[in-house]
Symmetry: C2
Subunit: 243 residues, 2 copies
């Protein structure tokens, strides 16, 4: 294993995205191509809610481990993005507008009663990873955001064109994410390039991004298994009306 | 929520098993009924290896949190069962005989390189649960062993009858498990009955067993998705020759 230049490290990170980011998962092909039933879109939004809800927990646990006020301040903007400045504001509230508009009861969504265990285990694995690995790996695991503007643009276009139950208002969460993601990525990618200056640390960074891609992928595997094929919903999880 | 008698609590626990234990999962129907390819049996054994390998970690973390020497001593027998008294002895070594005999390279199995992320996340969720919840919940989560003698007997009979690549020697892991499981269950069930004496603690015990059933179920969901239908292997995971 040799030391990579900053440019080589970024290329290696982008290569992981090109091979393993969940944009390539068959469920996203169905979702964005208008091939999902309303029940499948509901199941997607319901399960993804748990990911959204845990992001500030994950980010706060990263801040809690960081002894550099400059990094903590920078990372704090992610808490603001997701939790907002007041009730009804921020990414989680916007995600609940999406589940509202899909006809899901808000109490049911936030109770997590209908969540797939596979979703819970994957998201919790991410939260534990950020709390237990090195700060460098924790920061590197956020870098899937490098690849999110493309998938968000495909999602907005595809869902608006294909589903009569989806409106621009429904998707307001995604409207605000790309500039936030770009700002976050600028910081995290720069941090990783500056701090991964041994081959071992560079490999740890690449491993962290692969791990995070696995998390996002496993969430869609669980969704596909339960709601697309073979449509085997695990005991206790959400069953759409059109299942 | 009312207080249950010991007998009612045991009945409620057995009812969870009857509804949610992974004996009911379609993958086990295929495995035990001779409907799996050799590659699917390999994938099952490879993934289940990670569960086996993490069991002593889970049990040691439970012992590490327990301030009663009598309980620690009792629980220590589980470490002996899985790690053995010497190299080549114990449940993990016996599981590796199974993967050996299925033609999997031992280094590949133990490297975990081919593991499904869904397996990893489910097993890690179990380890975290035992390390983070109350001792009572940690002990209660082991109670899926109440239901294991039946599934092991079905598995031995079904696999020996249906697969020419499976021998009694291959399945030696399962030969020794039922008496160990019975001893473990006697202790854990008694502990739970004695220590869950409020409605809240009884509900926590029932929730712990449901959680553990979800872990085992999610492992088979991941396996089914990757290797049975729609046979979508996540990036980087094991691909059998006959896939």
């Amino acid at each position: 294993v040799k030391l990579l230049s900053s440019e080589e490290l970024e290329t290696a990170l982008r290569d992981i995205g090109a091979r393993r980011y969940h944009r390539l998962h068959p469920f996203h092909g169905l979702l964005h191509g208008g091939k999902c039933t309303k029940g499948q879109v509901q199941a997607w939004a319901l399960n993804r809610y748990y990911y959204q809800a845990m992001i500030p927990i994950k980010d706060a646990s990263l801040i809690a481990r960081c002894h550099d006020p400059a990094v903590r301040r920078e990372w704090r903007s992610r808490l603001v993005d997701h939790d907002g400045e007041r009730e009804g504001d921020g990414g989680i509230a916007r995600w609940l507008k999406l589940t509202d508009s899909l006809g899901l009861e808000r109490d049911y969504v936030t109770s997590l009663r209908g969540l797939l265990p596979g979703t819970r285990f994957a998201v919790d694995a991410y939260v534990h990873f950020v709390g237990e690995k090195t700060l460098l790996e924790a920061i590197a695991s956020s870098l899937t955001e490098m690849f999110s503007p493309v998938i968000i643009s495909e999602r907005m276009t595809g869902m608006l064109a294909n589903y009569d139950f989806v409106t621009r208002e429904t998707l307001s969460y995604f409207d605000v994410r790309p500039p936030q993601a770009r700002r976050d990525v600028d910081f995290a990618l720069n941090y990783v390039k500056l701090n991964a200056r041994t081959p071992e640390r560079q490999q740890a960074v690449l491993g962290a991004l692969e791990f995070k891609c696995d998390v996002l992928w496993a969430m869609l595997d669980a969704l596909y298994h339960a709601y697309v094929a073979p449509k085997q919903v695990p005991p206790g999880a959400f069953v759409p009306e059109d299942h």
